[in-house]
């Protein structure tokens, strides 16, 4: 998770850690994202903006409130979704879908 502001990143990361204890959640500064993706090879990346370079290296990504509006975007495998008002269960669902995808492949 490398989204801003910090309170969003930390609070959402902490909630996801508690609700999906099997997932390893790393919260990082946005500028660290590309190098961490290279190092950790995560299954899901959450940022305000996710660069094409990062998108090409992960099975799933979420652009959470880019531009600080209410819209968000995600991609799991080949499936792209736009959210008018993304909910915490949507984020959990993205993690679950990605996990199933990783188990299948």
């Amino acid at each position: 998770m490398a989204n801003e502001p910090r309170s969003y990143r930390e609070v959402i990361a902490e909630a996801v850690r508690a609700l999906r204890p099997q997932a390893r959640i790393v919260a990082a500064e946005p500028e660290e994202l590309e190098s961490l993706v290279e190092e950790l090879r995560p299954h899901v990346v959450v940022g305000n903006r996710v660069s094409p370079a990062v998108r090409s290296r992960v099975p799933a990504w979420v652009e959470l409130y880019p531009g600080y509006g209410t819209e968000s975007f995600s991609c799991v495998g080949e499936e792209h979704t736009t959210y008018d008002d993304i909910q915490l269960p949507d984020l959990l669902s993205i993690i679950d879908q990605t996990r199933r995808l990783a188990q299948r492949s």
Partner: protein, 236 residues
């Protein structure tokens, strides 16, 4: 046996014996995923109970019953969180309001304090800072020192004076002077503005000198920035 009385988040049972009571929290935040995660975090703490969540000013207005601490964002889809802070402060003084905003303008935070916010936090705060702030409010502790409070109120007062001065300066501008500013905003130089408004370059310069004097600025660029900032002209 001493008389029991309710404090902020605590019940004093007898002298020196204090029992912790759950603080009822209202979260007002339009970013649902953050609001829900924050509610989850508070619910994990035995001393807090999130009794209501609202994504807008109108939802918050009907969710304030029984609330001890309200955590309020300022940029809400149907209004300004400062309105809520003001309403809670005047009609529900038992609610301690913590403003949690992404605004980078100190004047916004200062306005929130003037409206009655007990504390202000930027959204770059950590989880620990947010929880600690709510805990302190629950215990009836101040988040701002008297000095910080005074500084914030001074900021509001200064900002209000600046806005009043700007309004008065704008009122002095003639229609023609506003047209000159609007032409300036399209990137025209003196000669082009003169041609566009069918006046001589000397007249254009006279208008510009008058504009600079009235707005209390020293350059065309400053005049342009002032005019855009205060809505005299639009950049298309």
């Amino acid at each position: 046996m001493g008389e029991a009385k309710t404090l902020h988040g605590k019940i004093e049972i007898t002298e020196g014996q204090v029992e912790e009571q759950t603080a009822n929290i209202l979260l007002v935040e339009d970013h649902a995923s953050f609001r829900q995660a924050l509610a989850f975090m508070f619910e994990r703490e035995p001393e807090f109970s999130v009794i209501a969540q609202a994504g807008s000013v109108s939802e918050a207005r009907v969710a304030k019953n029984g609330v001890d601490v309200a955590v309020v964002d300022l940029g809400l889809p149907d209004g300004d969180g400062i309105e809520l802070v003001e309403e809670f402060s005047s009609s529900e003084p038992r609610i301690a309001t913590l403003v949690l905003s992404a605004s980078l303008e100190p004047a916004r935070f200062a306005s929130a304090v003037e409206a009655g916010a007990a504390g202000v936090l930027h959204k770059s705060a950590s989880i620990g800072e947010i929880v600690d702030a709510v805990r302190r409010l629950r215990n009836g502790q101040a988040l701002l020192s008297p000095n910080e409070m005074i500084q914030m109120l001074r900021t509001v007062s200064r900002k209000r004076q600046e806005e009043m001065d700007a309004r008065q300066a704008i009122e002095k501008l003639t229609r023609r002077e506003k047209e000159v500013l609007q032409a300036l905003a399209t990137g025209m130089d003196s000669k082009e503005i003169a041609e566009n408004l069918h006046i001589t370059v000397e007249t254009e310069r006279t208008h510009m000198v008058n504009i600079l004097n009235k707005l209390g600025v020293h350059s065309r660029l400053q005049a342009l920035v002032f005019a855009v900032r205060h809505g005299v002209i639009e950049i298309r």
